[in-house]
């Protein structure tokens, strides 16, 4: 059988300037910079675009006069990239722009970022925000398997050190960190310390996908979608994040919410004809340190309960068997709201298989896995990106 994504390639990626704040920008203006940057990287023009995907795609279509074109309001990350690929492989589009941007959104600094705060009536009065949601999941893992704060801190130190050496990271040069530095930072929502948590910042980004027969004369080596999947149990941050929460889908096979992403990873690896051992680099989404441990288990890199020991002894550091979140992720590289933070995981995976990372390039990387969201959000998406056409 022909691979379902064989005829769609990622031909352009771009991150705008990322910073704690980008005065003079709003979410649309920085998304415009992401869109034009990605087209520039792809060697294509706005006139080549026939579909645009993102929560600001209407504004982009208007401001850049992309129309008439398809507009999709899919504001997710990996699912938006999979939608773009599907539009191409079904012949509905030839060149698809996937764009994110967030600026001027987080202004009340006494509160946590607006996108972290739920409004559902059953959680709002208890002071819930994303760190709390993810902590309630992490705590269950610690109770069940004895996962330790030191293991969490090792993850955070590794990712923050990746950002420390990345000149494009918002927190470039802010390290280096030892696990003890993480443990010594002030508590936020136990077991998370300040440095176990993602940061907040502003920025935009874009990706361009094109039909495979358009790639021959483009400047960049195409990156290919080897497989992908998407799992959700409900809306994020509105219901109790219960590790053992189970849905009824047959394909979900009784997988608990604590292992959200497992079905998606199985689908991605199945489509790709690969196993976790074939992966060269893990560009996991890192909202909180524990989530890296959880994803290694959920995606089948190690048995359930062994994620804690798995991240010790250098396995996830540069030069290790499974280098993780190599640009510094949301902890250090950038964490703009909306889909930007999630699309940036895909962009990093593309940079790794292109071999163009400004720092922490994994030599000869051919297969990268990336992911979005996690247990506390009750959704988790997975994408496998490769240098070779499937």
């Amino acid at each position: 059988m022909t691979h379902p994504f064989r005829d769609a390639a990622i031909v352009g990626v771009f991150n705008t300037m990322q910073a704690r704040a980008l005065p003079g920008h709003d979410s649309v203006s920085i998304a415009i910079e992401g869109a034009l940057g990605a087209l520039g990287d792809a060697g294509l023009e706005t006139t080549d675009v026939d579909a645009v995907i993102g929560d600001r795609s209407g504004e982009l279509a208007y401001e850049l006069r992309l129309g008439p074109c398809r507009r999709s309001l899919n504001g997710l990350g990996i699912p938006a990239v999979l939608e773009a690929a599907s539009l191409i492989t079904t012949g509905q589009s030839q060149v698809v722009l996937v764009v994110g941007g967030s600026a001027g959104v987080y202004t009340e600094r006494a509160s946590t970022a607006p996108w972290t705060r739920p409004t559902n009536e059953f959680v709002v009065s208890y002071g819930m925000f994303t760190a709390v949601e993810f902590a309630l999941m992490a705590k269950r893992h610690m109770l069940q398997f004895g996962t330790t704060p030191e293991q969490l801190a090792t993850v955070a130190a590794t990712i923050r050190n990746n950002g420390h050496v990345n000149p494009e990271a918002v927190y470039f040069g802010r390290g280096p960190y030892e696990p003890q530095d993480i443990l010594s930072s002030r508590p936020i929502s136990e077991p998370f310390h300040l440095l176990d948590c993602s940061t907040t910042s502003e920025g935009g980004c874009g990706l361009v996908l094109a039909a495979a027969d358009r790639t021959a004369d483009l400047p960049q080596a195409p990156a290919w979608i080897l497989g992908g999947g998407s799992d959700a149990y409900g809306p994020a941050y509105q219901h109790a994040p219960i590790w053992d929460f189970v849905g009824k889908s047959k394909s979900g096979d009784g997988i608990p919410a604590g292992y959200v992403g497992r079905r998606a990873a199985r689908a991605a690896f199945s489509t790709a004809g690969l196993r976790p051992d074939d992966v060269d680099v893990c560009e996991f989404y890192d909202p909180f340190s524990f989530e890296i441990i959880r994803q290694f288990e959920a995606f089948g890199f190690c048995p359930d309960g062994e994620g804690g020991p798995f991240v010790m002894d250098g396995a996830i550091a540069p030069g290790g068997r499974f280098p993780v979140t190599t640009d510094g992720g949301t902890m250090s590289f950038a964490h703009p709201g909306n889909s930007t933070q999630m699309l940036q995981r895909v962009i990093r995976a593309v940079q790794q298989v292109r071999g163009t990372c400004a720092s922490a390039q994994v030599p000869g990387a051919e297969v990268a896995i990336c992911s979005n969201a996690g247990s506390g959000a009750l959704f988790n998406d997975v994408l496998l990106v490769g240098s070779g056409r499937p």
Binding site: A110, S111, T112, T116, R117, T119, E121, F122, V123, V124, S125, Y126, G127, M128, F129, A131, V132, A135, L136, M137, K139, R140, L143, R186, P187, I188, S189, E190, P191, L194, H239, A240, P241, I242, W243, K248
Partner: protein, 141 residues
């Protein structure tokens, strides 16, 4: 010794829906209510619109005994918004009737909390018109 306490009135208030209004009316009367499916008798938290197990739309309000066990928790030191007093202990409580809810544990210290801890509900005002269910350890720690 940091004693965990209910939040002072003035933290963000829940906004009841047409489905959840009886829940909040119960809280005002000191009752922790939940829905039970009239068909399959499953206990349901969060005022759902349908029984997820059997798809019955006939769901009846019942009053919980107000007892539960601590399933997971986190001690919060960085408040969501400035109105919250820290530390507070957000918790998932498994109610004796079989469903689980988000709440907060009060009346003990963060160090007292343990998995499976016996808890009992009590109500504290969130605003002039709304009471919020909290949980307190049943026996002194």
């Amino acid at each position: 010794m940091t004693l965990l306490r209910p939040q002072p009135p003035g933290t963000p208030a829940p906004v009841p829906s047409i489905f959840s209004a009886p829940y909040w009316e119960g809280c005002a009367r000191g009752e922790l209510r939940f829905l039970r499916c009239a068909n399959c008798h499953l206990a349901l938290a969060d005022a759902p619109r349908i029984c997820w197990r059997c798809h019955s739309r006939v769901l009846n309000w019942e009053v919980s005994e107000g007892r539960g066990r601590l399933y997971s928790w986190t001690i919060v030191w960085r408040p969501q918004t400035p109105e919250f007093e820290v530390p507070y202990a957000v918790a998932i409580v498994d109610l004796a009737e079989g469903c689980s809810i988000i709440s907060a544990v009060i009346g003990c210290t963060p160090e007292d909390l343990f998995e499976g801890m016996d808890l009992a509900v009590e109500f504290h005002p969130n605003s002039d018109s709304l009471n919020l269910p909290y949980f307190r350890p049943v026996s002194p720690a």
